[in-house]
């Protein structure tokens, strides 16, 4: 009896310790949890405070020139700046450069540096630093261009301490977008111990693999009044379920990649904001594989697609339907292609075309999808069913990202795949890959007309002229049904109610410099 009492007592003590653990925890946690309770008292920006932003994956490099993952660039945007940088409208604004001129023939760029731009280490940005950075990315330093568009740079000359002249081999009005490449202190790219040092609104504090990256306010930032926050912690959240829990529990304040159902769940306690992303999602068709080499078959697939219901199912109706490879947010270059195929399914037309092509009984189609993108996987499931109704028997092949890159993207050994291409600011970025000789032409699109138009676009000296050709390219791609373009998925962001000032960009960045707390911390 006594023994039993003792063991019961022991258990009781253990339970107590467990519960007392609860007590201490809940006090320490309360700081992050007031979001839902307090009302917004004012919209006046206040300075100070720290914010935790959930990010999906670990960063791939701390070197702004070597980072390739979109998920890394969106963070480094806060630390580094180029001569120019993107603004929220998809235009270029001057950053380290105060002004620039381009020669008539488009071969010489002259940049005047802004006064008083400081690196995070306290040094002034000099013409030397700019020259070094441009030579590094263009491959003049060691022969390997780190940003391929800039490999056209022939020389970088310092005219005086505030002026840098860049000479390029080929005139290309789009090249100006590439001068967003980060300016870093001269020599830091070869210094083994170098910490990331830029001129951005936040300076680098620390990076811990698997945990995240911490940045703090750049007190001497050149843009007056920015940033508001003292500290931003980009915290790696493991999977979207964990992100949801972390948001609810209050351990992250901003999470930019919600799924539609999560947005529904959070909309009462968080600000949920939608904006078009800069991703073009499509059912990419391998134009070299039978039967997809027949334009009628590809068109049939376009007819069979019901983009409206894809949008409803996976994007909660917030996606932007597209027919070709251009972001509608790049207004000057986008053309709303004539809607031959329609956004809802036209099964009769699809079956007719299939019969014409000799596939009256349909055919088997394997759709490969990278399994780490839940969004594309869900889309594939919906699309598979739609194609099934047109008599196309779909099998879904879900593969790891690494395998997808190897087999589909680089090996081009697939029939169809659903994925997204992330665009950058350069308007032609999405179009250059469908030129038949392009190494990025993973759908093996082959159209003499497209190639000719693309070449003509390359000879233009102004962006306005280029825009006309680019619109033509979009039409060709659409008419030839190079692939079945679906939508620009929405970017769905949850943000703590106390915060405001979040800006959307047509490029993939998380700009924290304009975010502020509306109530006093």
């Amino acid at each position: 009896m006594k023994k039993r009492l003792i063991s019961l007592l022991l258990m009781a003590v253990l339970t107590m310790t467990a519960l007392s653990g609860c007590g201490t925890d809940s006090t320490s946690e309360s700081s992050g949890d007031k979001s839902s309770k307090e009302e917004q008292s004012s919209n006046e920006p206040t300075y100070g405070g720290s914010v935790v932003v959930g990010i999906q994956q670990d960063i791939d490099s701390l070197d702004p020139h070597k980072a390739t993952a979109a998920g890394t660039k969106e963070i480094l945007f806060n630390i580094f700046e180029g001569l120019l940088k993107a603004d929220e409208n998809g235009n270029l604004m001057k950053a380290v450069a105060e002004n620039y001129t381009i020669s008539e023939d488009g071969l010489v760029y002259t940049f005047t540096l802004r006064d008083g731009v400081m690196f995070h280490n306290g040094n002034k940005v000099t013409a030397e630093d700019v020259k070094y950075s441009l030579e590094r990315v263009s491959g003049i330093l060691d022969g390997t261009p780190l940003i391929s568009t800039l490999s056209t740079i022939k020389s970088v000359d310092i005219l005086d301490e505030k002026t840098v002249q860049v000479t390029v081999e080929n005139a290309n009005p789009e090249l100006i977008y590439s001068f967003t490449a980060a300016v870093i202190p001269a020599g830091s790219g070869e210094d083994a111990q170098a910490q990331p040092i830029g001129t951005g609104p936040f300076s680098f504090v620390s990076y811990t693999p698997q945990e995240g990256i911490l940045v703090k306010k750049n007190e001497s930032y050149w843009q007056e009044g920015l940033p508001y926050l003292d500290e931003v912690n980009f915290k790696i959240v493991n999977g979207s379920d964990a992100a949801l829990l972390a948001l609810k529990g209050g351990s992250i304040d901003i999470y930019p990649y919600l799924t539609d159902s999560q947005a529904e769940e959070l909309k009462d306690s968080f600000q949920v904001i939608y904006a078009p992303s800069n991703v073009v999602q499509a059912l990419f068709l391998n134009n070299a594989k039978e039967p997809l080499n027949d334009v009628k078959v590809r068109q049939a697939i376009c007819y069979a697609l019901d983009k409206d219901s894809v949008n409803d199912f996976v994007s909660g109706g917030n996606g932007t339907m597209i027919g070709s490879a251009m972001l509608p947010t790049l207004k000057d270059f986008y053309v709303d292609v004539e809607d031959t195929y329609g956004t809802s399914a036209n099964l009769d037309k699809a079956k007719e075309l299939l019969a014409d092509a000799g596939y009256a009984d349909g055919f088997d189609l394997e759709i490969t999808v990278p399994s780490n993108y839940a969004f594309h996987v869900e889309t594939t499931e919906v699309v598979a069913q739609q194609l099934e109704e047109a008599g196309i028997h779909v099998t879904i092949n879900s593969v790891e990202w690494g395998t997808w890159l190897d087999d589909c993207y680089n090996g081009r050994n697939y029939e169809a795949t659903i994925c997204g291409i992330t665009s950058d600011m350069t308007p032609g970025y999405l179009l250059n890959r469908f030129e038949s000789e392009s190494s990025k032409n993973f759908i093996n699109f082959n159209s003499a007309e497209y190639d000719a138009t693309y070449e003509a676009a390359g000879n233009c000296l102004t962006l306005e002229e280029k825009a006309e050709y680019y619109k033509k390219l979009q039409e060709i791609l659409y008419d030839d049904a190079g692939s079945a373009f679906i939508q620009v998925p929405p970017l769905t962001i949850a943000m703590n109610n106390e915060l405001a000032g979040y800006k959307f960009y047509p490029v993939y960045v998380q700009d924290m410099s304009t975010v502020y707390f509306v109530t006093q911390q």
């Binding site: 023994k3 039993r4 063991s7 019961l8 022991l10 258990m11 253990l14 609860c22 201490t24 925890d25 809940s26 320490s28 946690e29 992050g32 949890d33 670990d58 490099s61 701390l62 070197d63 390739t68 993952a69 491959g139 390997t144 261009p145 780190l146 790219g189 210094d191 083994a192 111990q193 170098a194 910490q195 990331p196 990076y207 811990t208 693999p209 698997q210 945990e211 915290k235 959240v237 493991n238 999977g239 964990a242 992100a243 829990l245 972390a246 529990g249 209050g250 351990s251 780490n372 593969v399 790891e400 990202w401 690494g402 395998t403 890159l405 190897d406 087999d407 993207y409 680089n410 190494s439």
Partner: protein, 319 residues
Amino acid sequence: MKYIGKKVITLIMTLFLVSVAAFIAFQVIPGDVVTSILGTEATPEREAQLREELGLDRPAPERYLNWVSGVLSGDLGVSYRYSKSMNEMMPVAELIADKLPVTLYLAAYSLILIIVISIPLGVFWARCKNPAPNVLLNILSQGAMAVPSFFLGILITYLFGIVFHCFTPGGYVSYRDDLSGFFGYLLFPAISIAIPKIAMTARFLRNSMLLELSSDYVRTARSKGCTNRRVMYRHVLRNAFMPVITFLGMIIAETIAGSIVIEQVFGLPGVGRLLISSISTRDFPVVEILVLYITAVVIVVYCLVDILYRMIDPRISDK
């Protein structure tokens, strides 16, 4: 002594075989590290440069030998994926040293919970003649054993994190910043690991004790006038403990090697999570060392269990 010598040789042989197997596996699985780092932006020049930087332009056997000689001389290599500074990659040793404490603390935490709760519980259960608590314990333990640990983790996160606000899900604090906050956060992951194991260990101990209770020596002990208590603790428990030790050994090996699932669920940056992410990013140097670590842990713990066996039960060493 001879026994330990033999074990050490087995350990080395196994580590060698496992490292070869992991290396071969990495040659065979699809997905190339260079393309996966550069993604869709790869240019042939960048690819070639990176391949050379990582030493991947050399033939496979040479790469393996380089790696082995590095490990033997104490250089565990550098990660392909994790940066230390702008131009330097994170050395594997440093990376793992940073993550290991999380796993080890979690293992220690949950082991203490398991041992402190399951043993008294098992004894109590074995001695329990009353049908009511017996049935209750039976149901509870069956339930606890049947729940997969990831589900239990999610359940606990939901219940204690979202409903009762005992902790902040995903609010992991690094042990480097705040040790008490760190232990506070580890409590619930530790409980999630411990619950199924407690149920198993307690049930195991109870069954083992019941089996021993029906042995002849118990009757003999009783008839020579031993008190019930003495029979229980001096005779039965000692004998009943043998299989439990093996079982605990397995649990120890399992938790020290990294509670992969629980680390995922609670967002703990331990070695288990490092292993998963390194496999998916094809970070070979990290995976190889982690695989060796896990193998070594399992072998060493089993070996210790063997030795402990001999200490508790002298009969074994005779054989």
